[in-house]
């Protein structure tokens, strides 16, 4: 479903921040993306959520070369991608309900359908009592749950999450990870950027390891494999 071939990325003619990235993500796969700060995780995520186009190489997504498709079609491709940003990027003038409803409204869903879907997902992430609250009045963890609800409400084909459990306590964190597992079982391809070694040890998924702009595809951590074997 996603294919990177010798992909390079540089900003404004500067040095390459990603060099010769090559990997394939099959539909329904689940990967962790990790690496030290400055390794290029955010840049790789930007390529994955089509915010940037590669400077060189090929990025294939949903059967299309993203550099070759028209801008309008790229917008429609983005509707099939859910993103949880590290800084949440919620719109402060909208309520939690309306923030979560955005992807469905953009996709042109009917108001009744939007209302039911948003209520359901917000109840699921434990924010039923905060539907009308502005994100400004929500805690970091609550904002993160709103961001996650917004990313998954459209049942995306590809879910990208940047440190999605960073601000959550363990209970909610694992609940969110379980949601991602469920989505993955339903066929959603998932890439989670994380520094959380415990999480990578707990869930048995392969890793995309970045270092200084170079990528290696690694198997799940040995602990995760061990836990899975049990």
């Amino acid at each position: 479903m996603i294919r990177f071939e010798n992909v390079g990325l540089r900003y404004h003619g500067g040095p390459e921040v990603l060099t010769d990235i090559t990997f394939t993500l099959d539909q329904g796969s689940y990967h962790f993306l990790h690496g030290p700060s400055g390794s290029g995780k955010t840049s790789l995520m930007k390529l994955l959520y089509l915010s940037h186009l590669p400077t060189r190489g090929l990025v294939g997504m949903f059967g299309h070369d993203v550099s070759a498709v028209e801008r309008g079609q790229r917008m429609l491709m983005r509707q099939r991608i859910g993103v949880v940003f590290q800084d949440f990027r919620l719109l402060p003038h909208l309520s939690a309900f309306d923030n979560v409803a955005l992807p469905l409204r953009i996709a042109g869903r009917k108001p009744g359908e939007v209302r039911n879907a948003v209520r359901e997902i917000l109840e699921w992430v434990g924010l039923a009592d905060h539907m009308k609250s502005s994100p400004t009045f929500l805690s970091g963890g609550q904002q993160q749950r709103v961001a996650i609800a917004r990313a998954v409400i459209g049942k995306p084909k590809l879910l990208l999450a940047d440190e999605p459990t960073g601000n959550l306590d363990d209970t909610i964190g694992y609940r969110i990870m379980s949601l991602f597992e469920q989505l993955n079982k339903m066929g959603t391809t998932i890439v989670i950027a994380t520094h959380n070694q415990q999480m990578m040890d707990h869930f048995n998924h392969p890793r995309l390891s970045l270092d200084k702009g170079h990528l290696q595809v690694l198997p799940p951590t040995s602990k995760a494999q061990l836990m899975a074997a049990r």
Partner: protein, 308 residues
């Protein structure tokens, strides 16, 4: 429930603040510009009405002057002038079927005409006054017909002159045409100013909401989706401002009309508030809003297209 649904449909994803300084500035500019456009349109209406009044007043009118002196410069006595006028009337009535009226001004009326220059105290019997005759025709005679009338008059008195007021009318037409062009230019400048202001404001809004727009793009919002939100806000704000501006202009015109009415000046026509006038005033906010709508849409789509 219906209310909730309507509220949802009207919901703006982007925070267009009413308190935004740029928005307030644009609103104020559009109020002033549309008020000016209304005044320009009112001025044009007055010019057209004035020109129409003057043209109507001299339509079909020809003035004959039998000079007080003959071709040799000898002063004619009143009896001679009376006889010439009488012969002229007889000749014209016999030969000009389209002549509606032959009206000779009395010596008192001619005296009144020149009194502003010579003073009321002049003794009219001492002055050699010309004879002035007003001819009324069905319509303003064409040059060929004027030639025939002149020839007929010259049979009676070769020194008599015929004035059709055409050159004065041509000057008036040229002058009013210049004024109308000035009004049209003013209306054009006003509309151009509104469009430039709206385009500038849209660009400023795009810059200030760049992060939010990027987010909507990342969620797959098309340029049309984002653009329609801008354009809807612009249309509402501009429409409201243009309406206020037009009303302000109309109030000014009403007040001006009342003052001009009080002047009782025959040359100043009364401003006519007919349905056509109201319709043209009503068109101002509609036209301004439509043009600003189109300008805002073009600006926002052009800018959004440049985004990744």
């Amino acid at each position: 429930m219906l209310d909730t649904m309507k509220r949802k449909q009207r919901l703006q994803d982007l925070p267009f603040g009413k308190e935004d300084v740029g928005t307030r500035f644009v609103t104020l500019v559009i109020v002033m510009m549309t008020a000016l456009a209304t005044l320009a349109l009112g001025g044009a209406e007055v010019i057209i009405s004035m020109r129409s009044n003057w043209v109507d007043a001299i339509r079909g009118q020809v003035t004959i002057e039998i000079p007080a002196t003959d071709q040799n410069g000898n002063i004619r006595n009143p009896e001679t002038l009376d006889a010439l006028a009488h012969d002229m009337e007889a000749g014209l009535k016999a030969n000009a079927a389209d002549l509606k009226a032959f009206q000779r001004l009395s010596r008192e009326q001619v005296h009144d005409l020149i009194a502003p220059w010579l003073g009321q105290d002049m003794a009219q019997d001492d002055l050699p006054l010309p004879v002035l005759i007003g001819l009324s025709f069905e319509d303003t005679p064409m040059p060929a017909r004027i030639g025939q009338i002149t020839a007929q008059i010259h049979k009676t008195d070769p020194a008599a002159s015929v004035e059709t007021h055409q050159s004065w009318l041509d000057d008036l037409r040229r002058f009013s045409g210049v004024l109308l062009m000035a009004s049209a230019f003013m209306a054009f400048a006003v509309v151009a100013c509104c469009i430039l202001c709206v385009s500038g404001a849209v660009n400023a809004q795009l810059a200030s909401h760049q992060a939010d727009i990027d987010l909507l793009h990342l969620m797959g919002a098309t340029d049309d989706y984002i653009g329609s939100q801008f354009v809807r806000v612009v249309a509402i704000d501009v429409g409201r401002a243009a309406l206020i501006g037009t009303l302000t202009g109309v109030i000014f015109l009403k007040a001006g009309g009342m003052i001009a009415g009080g002047l009782q000046a025959a040359t100043i026509p009364a401003f006519s508030w007919n349905p056509g006038t109201w319709l043209s005033f009503a068109a101002i906010p509609a036209v301004v809003t439509c043009l600003c709508f189109v300008a805002a849409r073009a600006t926002v789509l052009r800018s959004l297209e440049k985004m990744p």
